[in-house]
Every structure is written in structure tokens, then in C-alpha cells.
Symmetry: C2
């Protein structure tokens, strides 16, 4: 089952990569951008009997490895949900 | 207008970060994961008069800066589309 994981810096946590991109966009002339935040986008196939089971597995993966929950939030999208 | 940008390594391009995560998941006991691909997830606010205009601006940003289109694909989701 295809699972998409979106990992983003928590609100209030400094996001230097986002700041750098925002500055670069502005110096390229894109003055209409603001609030740039950069996170990770992880795609994976999880063998599971149901979408609910795939979600539970992906959640455990996020808590253990994929996200640093002290400074990052994560969100999941599971195929077939 | 809130725009989400998903940047992923093109099919066939080596994804060492994805391989590393897949190995780590397996060593943590998550044997049900495969095909792990890691990309960037970029969130930004674009000032635009319409969703179509925001999309055109975001596309230009991707082509100029946000994605390396030789080795990466990108996909957009625009609020209100």
C-alpha cells in the first residue's frame, strides 16, 4: 500500500532551509512568496492487509525513525483511505 | 494562497537517503517497507489573484530554484484548486 509521509518543522521551530529558500526566491525576483517552510516528503510501500494497518505501521515508523517529534510534525496519506 | 510543493528524485535516479531509511527501518524490525523514496516538501504562501496564477508562479519557482529538474520531479497542490 502506498503511503506518503509529510514531515515539517513544528510551528515556532527555526527553519533555516526555509529562510534560505525565501531569500533566494526574493533575490530571483519572486517577491510574492512568504512563509516558506521546508520538510521531508517520504514515499514508501507498506505491506499490510488494510489501509488502517498500513497507517498504524507508518505511524510507528514516524515515531521511531522518520520524524523527530521534538521539533517536527508529521502527517500521513495512505492509499485507499 | 497556500501552495504545497513535492519534490522527488526521478525514477531511475539513485536515492541514497531512501536506501538508508529503508535499511534503518529493516534493522528496527519494519520488514514490511520497501521502495522508500525521499524528497522535499515545501510549503509557501504565494500572493496571487487566482489559484491558476499561484500555480504558474510556483511552477516558475520550481523550474528556477526549488527543483533540480535534471534529477528531480515536482508536483504542486494549490489551495482552492
Amino acid at each position: 500500500m502506498l503511503v506518503e509521509v509529510f514531515v515539517t518543522p513544528k510551528r515556532g521551530v527555526l527553519d533555516p532551509q526555509g529562510r534560505a529558500i525565501e531569500q533566494s526566491l526574493k533575490s530571483l525576483g519572486f517577491r510574492q512568496a512568504r512563509g516558506v517552510r521546508v520538510g521531508k516528503y517520504i514515499l514508501l510501500e507498506i505491506e499490510a492487509g488494510s489501509a488502517a494497518e498500513a497507517r498504524r505501521t507508518a505511524q510507528a515508523m514516524c515515531e521511531r525513525l522518520l520524524a523527530n517529534t521534538v521539533i517536527e510534525d508529521y502527517r500521513l496519506r495512505v492509499e485507499g483511505e
